[in-house]
């Protein structure tokens, strides 16, 4: 599995801190462009809040459209962090090392971005507080007898997402401590003081390493149930609604979780390829890593396809008129059926077809394309679950309608992609997106075994 040349500690520090200590020329330009897009999206959201939902394509009965689709999409992306970092750390997969930090940080930013979507979607974001709190300084509840309904998944959702966000930030911070110490020792002035504070007195002694490793393993194990619960609860936003027949399905929770891992890991692979290109990290993000991610994705994608098939088959299984109406819209009515074909093709058949070939897995351009396909497909998947279900909501068939997103929604959606990109770019200026200590540990543990005339890469293992 080890293909690169051996790296020494000095070289690792020098090359991986390049994004922090020496900003490339294009950095501020790119940041400005992304910032402008975010600003436009924020202004558009402000305009929508001022004017009301009439400026969007949302209607009755399709009251959930692009915003909720995008919310589920970004929650899905956030699943990459734990998938790669916690699971692969627990399973001691060597190839995880360069991928973990970017995945964890992507988790944090995509969760933050996801949570803006329901806020915008409420149309009156300040009223969101009534979902959760009955505080003395919010007299509205008491006066009108309105209390939060804690039995609704819409309340479970923020609880789960914020728990995940908090634990993900903790996870990132614990893993960052040794790297903050490296930065502390290589900076001056204000930066030195801030990194010093974040490094929390790290000197790299045996006790500190032991505690850091134990904390990492414990957090990995503890964060896993949170990771599974988040997207399960998001799926139950839909699954608990018995009035929308195609949503009320027992398989939704694992189906959403596997889909989230699929899109999230693809997004991480794409981020790694971009990082390799823009920062010249060929020694760290090697073809073997992208290859391993692609092989993992074959398994995840196939699992996802199995769940998708079950969901569709049992959609038809009941032969209930309510559900058949939705399936009919999804599979036989244009343009929905065309979107459906594009979604299945982009999510499964095209990328998996690509990943089956070793040479394709190691071609970074093709891999980028496959990862983009997966994410377009997964975005469409959420859209095709949400909108047709509502458009054919029973039993008031006179209310059947369709949905056409307005430019306001498009701008806000594009803005969220710009926001995540901007945040990733900004954080690359502050923390190393490839963990220095993890790479160094990998270098120490690597060795070779001679079998006959062949030398095989090997690794030292304690267990």
């Amino acid at each position: 599995m080890q293909e690169g040349k051996p790296l020494n500690s000095k070289q690792v520090n020098r090359e991986l801190l390049v994004s922090i200590l020496n900003s490339p020329k294009w950095f501020f330009g790119a940041l400005a462009v992304l910032g402008l897009i975010v600003l436009i999206a924020m202004s558009t959201a402000g305009f929508m809040i001022n004017q009301g939902f009439g400026v969007t394509g949302l209607n009755r009965p399709v009251m959930w459209g692009f915003f909720i689709t995008n919310f589920v999409f970004w929650i899905g992306i956030s699943h990459a962090g734990v998938m790669l970092s916690a699971i692969l750390r627990l399973s001691k997969a060597e190839w995880r090392r360069p991928a973990t930090r970017a995945a964890e940080i992507l988790t944090v930013f995509s969760l933050m971005t996801a949570m803006t979507m329901p806020l915008i979607h409420t149309g009156r974001p300040w009223r969101t507080v009534y979902w959760i709190y009955t505080l003395p300084f919010v007299p509205y509840d008491y006066a009108r007898g309105i209390w939060p309904n804690i039995r609704t998944p819409l309340v479970w959702d923020p609880s789960a997402v914020y728990t995940y966000l908090t634990s993900s930030i903790l996870f990132v911070m614990v893993a960052l401590i040794p790297d903050f110490a490296v930065l502390r020792d290589r900076t001056t002035g204000m930066s030195h003081r801030i990194y010093g504070m974040l490094a929390m007195g790290w000197q790299g002694n045996a006790r500190q390493w032991k505690l850091q490793i134990i904390a990492g393993v414990l957090l990995s194990a503890l964060i896993l149930p949170v990771f599974v619960s988040v997207h399960s609860i998001v799926s139950w936003d839909f699954g608990m609604a018995v009035s929308v027949k195609s949503w009320h399905s027992t398989i939704f929770a694992p189906y959403f979780v596997v889909g989230a891992v699929h899109s999230g890991v693809s997004a991480v692979a794409l981020v790694l390829i971009i990082l390799r290109y823009i920062y010249g990290w060929q020694n760290y993000i090697r073809h073997e890593h992208i290859d391993a991610l692609a092989r993992l994705l074959i398994v995840v994608a196939t699992g996802w396809f199995y769940f998708f098939t079950m969901e569709v088959i049992f959609g038809f299984y009941g032969r209930e008129a309510d559900e058949i109406a939705v399936r009919n819209l999804q599979f036989t009515v244009s343009p929905w059926n065309i979107w459906m074909m594009i979604f299945v093709g982009m999510t499964y058949f095209v990328p998996v077809g690509i990943w089956l070939s070793r040479s394709m897995r190691r071609n970074l351009w093709i891999m980028s394309l496959a990862c983009i396909f997966v994410n377009i497909g997964m975005w469409l998947e959420r859209f095709l679950i949400i909108v047709p279900g509502l458009a054919r909501k029973q039993l008031l068939t006179f209310d059947w309608y369709t949905y056409r997103p307005s430019s306001v929604e498009w701008i806000i959606i594009v803005g969220t992609f710009a926001l995540v990109s901007m945040l990733m770019l900004t954080i690359a200026r502050v923390v190393p997106l490839i963990p220095l200590y993890d790479i160094k540990e990998g270098e120490i543990l690597r060795t070779e075994i001679k079998i006959g005339r062949v030398t095989v890469p090997a690794v030292f293992r304690e267990d």
Binding site: M1, I251, I313, R319
Partner: protein, 476 residues
């Protein structure tokens, strides 16, 4: 056999074994043909159980015939139990071979040998084929009845579900046997020179012209990979078919897309449990300590823990969706299978498939032992039996006669308790499976020689800093 002392230090003391490849073939040859007294007694005991099972089957057929599926609920349950274990076990070997896990090496053949028990599946399935009611309503379609009941076959194809189900089970059995055969070719080729009697003839015939050329090795590995992928697809499909045709479609109104997944997870959990039990017995009483290190249990137990958590997650996803929905049709299903009719069986199922193994496997020292994962294996096997009784006895007796064609289960039926013939069939089914497995271990080496030998090349004990640690070779 000549093997080094188990290696490891600190909490991992005695974890790794490094078998001596030079004496492995001779040693395994001896072990395969040996018939020690405990083994003979186990064979006799399971043989008696098999006979009891046959008696139970004949008595049930004489009492109730094959007209109604209701009296055969326990037979369905034990068929499903054996089917889940024996069809899932080869997949365990295939999966860990795909992931290139070195620790899987002593486990592969133990898992693949369950393919031979697949023959029992096929035989047990034949009566079930006749018992499964037709899809089309045979009588006059009354009000509130369906002309065609809800199944995964909808209104076709021809012969569905009976012929297709049988074809599927047969295909699954053949594919798993093919995997076993291809996997065992190098071992049989090596043993053919030292074996005697029927084994010599069998090994010579089945190993063909194997001489271990590079081309032959490449073909064998490619064959295993292709058949493994193919088997994975057939297995998932057949578990979907069996769980739908013999469980879900027999309970009117039960539309549960997660159930086939839960069935497959239960199958994998039970198979891994059964494999760990077999490996523990081999290590403890079979003289295989030099081949089966504790590291194998340590790694496999983590997988078992993961599968156990997945099991309860899927069960909860089913329960919360039905419970929260508050639809009468779904409440009836919950009352029938979970909270009322089969509540005690459900509770046992939950305890033995989740709570107890979870409590055992949670502890690192237990997972690092050989007995801990094996104990968890026994627990999940019992839990799996409860799962099958709850689901299949429930399904067979949910809607007698024309009620099967109603769109929903309007009343919650009473539980069906086993009579003496049911007890005979259940213990007979289990006995038969063990009996066939024991016989299979006398035909083929129970350790995959070529894989373990390959493992000795990739795993070394070497010096690192101030201590000695395991060095794992990663060929690709």
């Amino acid at each position: 056999m000549a093997a080094t002392e188990p290696k490891g230090h600190g909490q991992h003391a005695g974890m790794w074994v490094f078998p001596d490849a030079t004496v492995m073939t001779a040693d395994m040859g001896e072990k395969t043909k040996a018939m020690p007294r405990p083994f003979t007694m186990a064979l006799a005991a399971t043989g008696i159980l098999l006979i009891l099972g046959i008696v139970g089957f004949i008595a049930r057929a004489a009492d109730d015939g094959f007209g109604e599926i209701g009296p055969w609920g326990y037979y369905m349950a034990i068929f499903s139990m054996v089917f889940m274990v024996t069809s899932g076990a080869p997949l365990v070997a295939v999966a860990f071979r795909f992931t290139k896990s070195h620790w899987r090496r002593p486990l592969s053949r133990v898992a693949e040998l369950f393919s031979i028990v697949g023959i029992l599946n096929l035989l047990m399935f034949i009566p079930l084929m006749f018992l499964l009611p037709d899809i089309a309503n045979p009588g006059e379609v009354a009000e509130n009845e369906l002309a065609v009941r809800r199944t995964i076959w909808f209104e076709g194809p021809i012969g569905a579900p009976h012929a297709w189900d049988l074809l599927g089970v047969a295909f699954l059995t053949i594919t798993s046997m093919a995997i076993l055969w291809i996997s065992a070719i190098p071992d049989m080729a090596e043993c053919r020179f030292t074996a005697t009697g029927f084994r010599r003839t069998l090994y010579s015939r089945l190993s063909g012209g194997w001489y271990g050329t590079k081309r032959q090795w490449n073909s064998q590995k490619a064959g295993l990979a292709l058949l493994g992928a193919f088997y994975f697809m057939i297995l998932i499909f057949m578990q979907f078919v069996i769980s739908s045709d013999y469980a879900q479609s027999l309970i009117p109104g039960w539309k549960d897309s997660i159930f086939p997944v839960l069935y497959t997870i239960t199958s994998l959990q039970m198979s891994l449990g059964a494999i760990l039990v077999v490996l523990f017995i081999m290590r403890r009483w079979g003289g295989y300590e030099g081949y089966v290190g504790k590291s194998m249990f340590w790694s496999a137990s983590k997988v078992l823990l993961g599968v156990t958590l997945l099991w309860v997650y899927h069960l909860f996803a089913f329960f919360i969706t039905f419970w929260y929905g508050r639809l009468e049709i779904e409440q009836n299903i919950i009352q029938y299978l979970v909270t009322d009719t089969y509540a005690i069986i459900f509770l046992l199922n939950l305890i033995f498939s989740f709570a107890a193994p979870f409590a055992v496997l949670l502890w690192n020292p237990v997972r690092r032992s050989a007995w801990g994962p094996a104990l968890a294996g026994v627990l999940v096997l019992f839990g799996g039996l409860m799962f099958n009784i709850r689901i299949f006895v429930g399904a067979a007796n949910a809607a007698p006669g024309a009620e099967l064609f109603q769109p929903i289960m309007e009343h919650v039926p009473a539980p069906v308790y086993p009579d003496i013939w049911d007890v005979f069939m259940v213990i007979g089914g289990l006995g038969a499976a063990v009996f066939i497995y024991l016989l299979a271990t006398r035909v083929l080496p129970v350790i995959s020689l070529w894989e373990v030998k390959e493992g000795t090349l990739y795993q070394k004990w070497g010096k690192f800093m101030r201590g000695e640690y395991l060095i794992l070779g990663k060929p690709e």
